[in-house]
Assembly symmetry: C2
Homo-oligomer: 133 residues x 2
C-alpha cells in the first residue's frame, strides 16, 4: 500500500492524484515547485521504476512542466530525482527564473522555505488545477 | 547538426555514443558522474524531448545508473536535468555516497571539481565501458 513519506507530507500541499503520481506543491512561495510521487511501494531511485511505468512517469513530468510554464512563464524548468534525504522516490519539477534567489544554482538549501500565505496558496492551486484540466 | 556545448566539452571526457545520447564522464573525481546529452538539435528542457524519444532517454538513464551502481556501488543515485548554466539539454546521473563531500545536499557548487589523474581516469573509463558492454 502506498503511503506518502512524512517529510513530503509535512513540506507540501497535495494538489491532486494523476494516474501514476500524487501531485504535490512544495510549500515554498520562493519557487513554483511541484513534486511527483509515483503511487507505488518501495521505489527509491529513478531507475527503480518498472519499464512499464516509465512512459507514465515521463508523461506526468511533461504535464507538470507544461502547467508550470503555462501558469508562471518561467525562464527554465529543472527536473530532478535526488532523494538523498527522503528515501521515497519523488521527482522535483521546478519553475526557475533568472531573478530567483538561487539562480543559476539549484534551489535546494539556498534559502529557507517561505510558506505560502492562504490567499497566495489558493491562487496557485486554482491556477495549477485549471491548467491541469 | 548536433554539436556538443563548449562548456560540456570543457568539463567532461567523452565515454561513448549510445543510440540516443552522447555519454560523458564529468572530469571530477569527487563523484562518479555521467552526463547524457541527447544528440538532437535545439533541446533545452527535459520536456522538450519528443514523445518518440522519451523511451530512449529513459532507457539510457537506466543504463547509466545501472553501470554506475555496478562499478562504484554507491548509496544513492541522483538524476537531474537542470541546465541553468548550459542551455543544451543534458541529464546528470550521479553516484552518491553518504560519505561524499556534498552529502546529503546536491553536488553542484559545493566543492571545486577535482580533475582525474591519468591512471584514475583510465581505470574509471575502462570499468564503465566494460560495464556498458
Amino acid at each position: 500500500m502506498f503511503v506518502l513519506h512524512e517529510r513530503l507530507e509535512a513540506d507540501t500541499i497535495e494538489v491532486c492524484d494523476w494516474p501514476f503520481s500524487k501531485v504535490l506543491l512544495m510549500n515554498d512561495a520562493t519557487y513554483p515547485w511541484l513534486i511527483l510521487v509515483p503511487r507505488r511501494d518501495a521505489l527509491r531511485d529513478f531507475h527503480d521504476l518498472a519499464p512499464e511505468d516509465r512512459p507514465a512517469m515521463m508523461d506526468e513530468i511533461d504535464r507538470a512542466s507544461v502547467a508550470l510554464e503555462d501558469v508562471f512563464a518561467p525562464d527554465k524548468m529543472n527536473v530532478a530525482a535526488l532523494g538523498n534525504m527522503v528515501p521515497q522516490l519523488h521527482v522535483h519539477v521546478i519553475a526557475r527564473f533568472t531573478s530567483d534567489q538561487a539562480w543559476p544554482g539549484p534551489v535546494w538549501g539556498v534559502v529557507e522555505a517561505k510558506p505560502y500565505g492562504e490567499a497566495a496558496l489558493e491562487k496557485a492551486l486554482d491556477a495549477l488545477r485549471q491548467s491541469f484540466a
